[in-house]
Symmetry: C3
Subunit: 352 residues, 3 copies
């Protein structure tokens, strides 16, 4: 039998400071952009219109931030999470430069934390990953942590290192493209007159639309992102698990929720940071997704009177519209209808 295939890395294969240059570089263009719309129904203005992007100062039409993120994220899976038991969280995701249609992305990761479970069966690995474009410039960077199986229970655990992670990306650290100019932003183009001044911390937005997922929806998405995690594709493998069936890639849930949230957040032009996030419950084909947002904080941006930042909490729900939800958590435990709890920051034009 050949040794050409790779079973992926197990917990004991990771060491602090270890780096990975992930395969395979990917050119992301007009085809990926159209598919992203077909998969999510996204109507976000800048990624959907070259002339609109141009009018706001963009030198070229950008890719949706989540499309680019999922593609970069997919590259890390073969090295980092092929043997993951659970994706535990995201933090400190930043978008230092836009990804333009036609760009080619590759990804790298560094191990920044390790902690073996008490039972010696698995451990948590923290990595910082970075997506890099064809000009060797960073376009995204994020931390995630996953619980990864051990190959050999008898191996001694590594020293425990748990990285200190920020609760959120501070306003001063948000990357705002220098060319972006929203002083003449036209709300008619997005269909909503609500701008940064109009949203207040504590405000709840229940988005009215729902979307039922089918198997082909999420498997098309996950293949487009070249994410090779088998639990999204192999129904036979999954039949013998507690889930009993294919799991929907959590990134697809984020993207569908972002698209559903267009009605109520039409002018949330750009995602500037993902502060943290949890996939609280599994999502399967047949589930109907809904979305609620809460405004957590609002910030002015240094040197900008055309744009402000909103820190938002996105709750992804399944089989309950927001109005039907009740409390998202009961006794500190998520309702089985909450599938996503994401803390992120958007840029929104200000009134002028």
């Amino acid at each position: 039998m050949s040794g050409k295939t790779d079973a992926g890395n197990f917990f004991e294969d990771f060491s602090l400071g270890q780096t990975f240059a992930h395969a395979t570089p990917r050119t992301l263009g007009a085809g990926e952009a159209a598919l992203y719309v077909a998969l999510t129904g996204s109507r976000h203005a800048i990624a959907n219109s070259g002339p609109l992007a141009h009018a706001l100062g963009y030198p070229a039409r950008p890719a949706d931030e989540l499309l680019a993120f999922h593609i970069a994220f997919g590259k890390t899976v073969a090295d980092i999470s092929l043997n993951a038991v659970a994706n535990l969280g995201y933090a400190d995701a930043r978008f230092p430069r836009p990804v333009f249609l036609g760009d080619t992305l590759r990804a790298e990761s560094t191990v920044i934390g390790l902690k073996e479970n008490r039972d010696g069966e698995a451990g948590v690995v923290w990595v910082r990953s970075t997506a890099i474009n064809q000009n060797d410039r960073d376009v995204m960077t994020w931390v995630r942590w996953v619980m990864v199986k051990k190959r050999d229970r008898a191996r001694a655990p590594p020293p425990v290192v748990v990285p200190t992670l920020p609760t959120h990306v501070a306003a001063r650290d948000l990357a705002v493209p220098g060319f972006l100019d929203c002083r003449e932003f036209e709300t008619a183009l997005t269909g909503s007159a609500w701008l940064w001044e109009d949203y207040q911390p504590g405000e709840i937005i229940d988005h009215p639309a729902g979307m039922t997922l089918d198997e082909s929806d999420h498997s098309f998405a996950t293949r487009l992102y070249q994410n090779p995690a088998r639990l999204h594709f192999d129904a036979r493998l999954m039949r013998d698990t507690a889930f009993g069936r294919r799991l929907v890639y959590g990134g697809h849930v984020i993207s569908v929720c972002r698209a559903l949230a267009h009605e109520g957040l039409e002018n949330a032009l750009l995602i500037a940071a993902i502060n943290g996030g949890t996939h609280c419950n599994p999502t399967f084909a047949g589930d109907t997704l809904y979305c609620r947002h809460e405004v957590l904080e609002k910030w002015e941006l240094p040197g900008r009177d055309d744009l402000g930042a909103l820190r938002l909490r996105m709750l992804g729900l399944k089989d309950r519209a927001p109005a039907e939800l009740g409390a998202p958590k009961i006794d500190g435990k998520y309702s089985p209808h909450v599938v996503l709890d994401l803390d992120y920051t958007v840029l929104m034009p200000r009134h002028h």
Copy 2:
């Protein structure tokens, strides 16, 4: 609770002459064109081949007319038909200029008719919509009318205004691109030697192929067109309706029928007008679509000896091949197997 989301317009929100500049502009390119083929199997020659389009005089590769129509139509839904009980009809759809891959479309609408139902629960709204490209030139215009719910039954009805609509776009009003030159059209490229002279009014064409629709087919299509009508996406919402499940967007039915009709209408190069149309019965995932055409009229075109027009009637059928159908209407009522009755006009090369 936030007032940021919009419940859409109800009947009493419309007034005669009212205009809407619909969100969001959309760039339509090679990705959308490829998806249109993947969704429908369309083999129509001009949209499928840049060099063929160029040989016929096109300065660039055009988008399929229906792809562009569905994208422009989708933009009108949030303002016009989010609270529609029924899409009652289309009329007077024209295509004054081609849409080229890379163009960016936006849409506007004007209310041209209003008539409240006798029961005061809803009313019919007629709108003329126009799609406009990035150079501010009209590329499509059409009338549709929808029955929209009232928010408040007690509101007094508006004056009744029912627009006069043409039965069909007259031959002299058909937009034929000035650059289009079919004098050296090669039928080998489309696979059929039948040209304009060969089709006769009264002729019936039963297209042999059928296509079974799956949920992902129509939901991908409708998301690609950014049509936010919830009845296409939310199976939970639809479970409690008379339909019991998600409805297939009628535009997808038109496109599938147009693609199935390639076998028998290979040289119907361009759609020059949609004269009228009705979605006679609902279409659901699992239905198998078939198509029949009837030639209604044929017209010479002023100043053109390379092209003629055919006015066609497209019948979309479900779960009955054309040969099995029998009469499409019995006692003036459509057979439950007829889902589409569309009157439209195509351009076809003439023998030379």
Copy 3:
């Protein structure tokens, strides 16, 4: 009733030396490339990255060879195999020139063999087909043979001509692009350090990943390829056959297996030939595909020290992982879990 539709060619419609110029030319670009990834999850390096292709000498980003093949193949169906009872085999498929994104393909075929069945109900037709780009240069050529129904059992059989076909394309006949230069190939880009020297005849590679197919997966693929064979689309038609349901297009099976085989054949950069192939059993939605490879032969290439060729046998499996398979054939008959047995040749960089 109109005679405008075509029932396709029957066995007696074919004659030795007969040629077909198939409809319709197709421009294949960034949209098709993105869809190919979304349909298969393909991570093959050259087609996925413009800069990587450029670094290896490509003047432009190429299309995946199988994407181009399926599109060209699809063009032949209406003329050759609309009335096929069975697709019996492929042979001698070569790829004389790359297909670049933006190219436009058409296809031609010549009948090179005919043999009526003893029962007079059908016959085998051998055709050599060629795909040609917009510059009138051959980009692919292949032989296939299909069993086609007779329209009229009483028609006298044609003289039997069975073409002599090579068992495989010889190493000296493999088209290796002159511009391709793998002397500085970086294995970090593909994620595997195994190169041509590391693979040995007789070696077996069991690829670990599986992929469950859904109806929309294969029907999207087959529509993208504009393959009009009805047995892939019309569930009603298929209900009355021995299969009872829609058949998955065999080309989609090949592409999924090639994508699954990325783990273990990461550096199989290009398909240089398809020597022969059989679809051993039908594939349906719901089946989970797996893949095994066997290395049949390895060849140096004349004048090249940067690249070698591997002749491979790809076994496509359904509902059995390779480790579960046992013998692919028992008493000369394929296991019902083997759906594909493909003999093909790839180019792989050599160590430097």
